[in-house]
């Protein structure tokens, strides 16, 4: 932590007020914020005014897009109560947005996300990039980026850009070190996208980490339940992320979350990573489809349909995957005491079939299962949650330090 001068006190309180408003379920009044933060109403008023003129917050029902024109006072939020009606506050739409990009094995995506977490513009292209060359793919992504940025509403500032990649990333250098599923090695996407990004700096991150962030935070400053979970993201292999108290654990170098390569059985099949019996060899998309006797291009939903219908091979494939997931996740839960597992990617599509078996396995293998039972939930269906997460992460900076953007 840095030192605290008086200015940073104001910065911190400004951020606190912004966070409080954005985190609230219903639009809170200044008085609500004062009560929640234990600042005084006078202080909150001053800070809120600053954030409103800066375009971070907005008074509900005030004229949208007309900064400086406060408009009519807001509607009473709790009618039937005496007293002056409150002026509800929300995140301001129309002033700040961020760009989220994703290179997946099955698609390219570019999204513009606003402060309320809504997608303002999107370009999504299904595309098989397994074994592709980085150059052409990134040029394609650059086109999408340009198109999305072109649709930025006037007066809106794009505060940052993030790119989700399915592999091991050096986030300090913005470099993709290795993405086995794409067949990419040592790529620096920032250079290829520079033309489209203008002066935006690109933050590169792991797809699972960013998708997990989006799952924990539907909008900047807002938190959804649960705040502690293990996220599994299945595309071809299995990526993962560990979220503690709403924050994605990146680890010493940013490479945490490689749950796909946790050993399930030391005598198991050899993995492309060089180890044996990795989770990915049982619950990866290709592994599951192969075990079910299906072609590699079959959508996972078809596997789920067959298993439901009673297809023996499909059911065996799902059971085997669930067993492997149970063993690997039990280890993670034992080590981290995080009793919620979120299944994303292809695992979400067979989530309903996997969850009971996985939960049973966790009950058996988790030491603290006597006191707390683990839950397995599925992530919402989204082809590119990493793009959203990347944008949200960029927008978080506005909430964390409004002064830098309100200027």
């Amino acid at each position: 932590m840095a030192n605290l001068r008086q200015a940073s006190l104001r910065h911190a309180n400004l951020a606190l007020v912004a966070r409080t408003v954005l985190a609230a379920e219903a639009p809170p009044s200044r008085a609500d914020v004062a009560a929640a933060t234990s600042l005084t109403r006078s202080t909150v008023s001053r800070l809120v005014d600053e954030l409103v003129t800066g375009g971070v917050l907005a008074e509900v029902d005030s004229a949208i897009g007309g900064p400086g024109q406060p408009g009519q006072p807001g509607r009473p939020s709790r009618p039937g109560r005496p007293g002056r009606p409150a002026t509800p506050l929300t995140a301001s739409t129309g002033r700040f947005a961020a760009l989220g990009l994703q290179v997946g094995v099955g698609q390219l995506a570019a999204r513009l996300v606003g402060l309320t977490g809504e997608v303002l513009a999107e370009q999504l292209v299904p595309l098989d990039l397994a074994g592709s060359r980085p150059g052409p793919s990134l040029r394609r992504l650059r086109t999408l980026t340009t198109r999305v940025l072109a649709s930025t509403p006037p007066g809106m500032t794009v505060v940052g850009a993030g790119l989700a990649l399915p592999g091991i990333v050096d986030h300090t250098e913005g470099r993709l070190l290795s993405a086995p599923n794409l067949g990419w090695e040592d790529v620096t996407p920032g250079a290829a996208l520079r033309g489209a990004l203008g002066d935006l700096t690109l933050c590169v991150g792991n797809e699972a980490d960013l998708a997990a962030h989006a799952f924990a935070h539907p909008a900047p400053g807002r938190s959804s339940e649960p705040q502690d979970f293990v996220y599994l993201s299945g595309e071809v292999g299995i990526g993962g992320a560990v979220v503690v108290d709403g924050t994605v654990m990146t680890g010493r170098h940013g490479w945490a979350g490689e749950i796909g390569h946790v050993c399930v059985d030391p005598e198991g099949p050899t993995c492309r990573c060089g180890s044996t019996g990795c989770l990915e060899q049982y619950a990866g998309r290709l592994a599951m489809l192969a075990a079910a006797g299906l072609d590699a291009s079959t959508p996972p939903a078809e596997l789920a349909r067959r298993a439901h219908a009673g297809d023996d091979k499909a059911r065996t494939a799902v059971r085997s995957a669930a067993r492997a997931l149970g063993i690997a996740l039990a280890g993670v839960v034992n080590v981290l005491d995080i009793p919620t597992v979120v299944l994303g990617g292809h695992l979400a599509q067979v989530g309903a079939l996997l969850a009971p078996d996985v939960e049973a396995m966790l009950v058996r293998r988790v030491l603290s299962a006597h006191w707390v039972t683990s839950r397995v939930v599925t992530a919402p269906d989204d082809p590119a949650p990493g793009a959203t997460g990347a944008a949200l992460l960029a927008l978080d900076r506005v909430v964390a330090d409004p002064v830098a953007f309100v200027s």
Copy 2:
């Protein structure tokens, strides 16, 4: 984070100054602190004076034990340089201490630890508590506690007490839920110790967590390398802790770190936890001794001696343990990206034998091994590191919020 009033600004800066002084390798001057914190010299002077009169900091070479008597100014720390010589600052000895207790399978321990991390008084009783009854054991510990507290130097304040327990702990209630190695279930040690503790509140914690804290922080506010590691603590079974950025990850309920029950082989032997193939079944003390054909009471050092001497069974036992450790730790490293493993307890005594095999296993099974290689190090030999950790944790509160103690 709570809100920030002006007073908390002073609190925060007071804590910052205290931390900066305690964290420094060599005693820093006020000017050094100002440079390190980017506060001004005048502000640092004011804060330091307050901490000195409060007994948190001391000027080196001032009369010890004579508060209010600043004594002669300190020696020049960098002779040969022009200018007024600096007054070096350190943690004050003699004013604050904390009590650390530990119930181990092999001993009871009570320690009084000062702000510089030194053990001021100690009572250590080797004792086989496996299968013991809690009541008599805790009464014994109470006697040790009374004795240690009786040796508190005059004028010194004991700011807190902590108790390390080898099991699953509910730290909010101060209750030991289950300690299989002791055979204890649902014990509240605070009640049994109340008489000896006076008005001290007892913080109960897991032994491995507290030992890991002591390893990361040799003294309150001070950090040692590494700051990110996995700690393994072997007594009868295997406990563990995950330390990220100097902080022990406790998990959602405080039960993180149960690495002993990570699955190494789903077809392996049944563990007393009900699962199969847990790490503890290969690298626990009893498991290793049994595999080596030795009696359960044999000290682990004897196992190490035999393996060194070429005893086949001993070598096989060590190799098998190393393999299991490698598999389990590779999973942890993959998930957490923490490339350092610290072996404590009985594992430290055979650490030199284990380390090469474990490291080799990690190279093979960790996905990011191409870029960073994991290290395996051994913890210093201490029968009760948890007691020290518990005391240090209590002392940390003095550094984190000096105002509460300086009053």
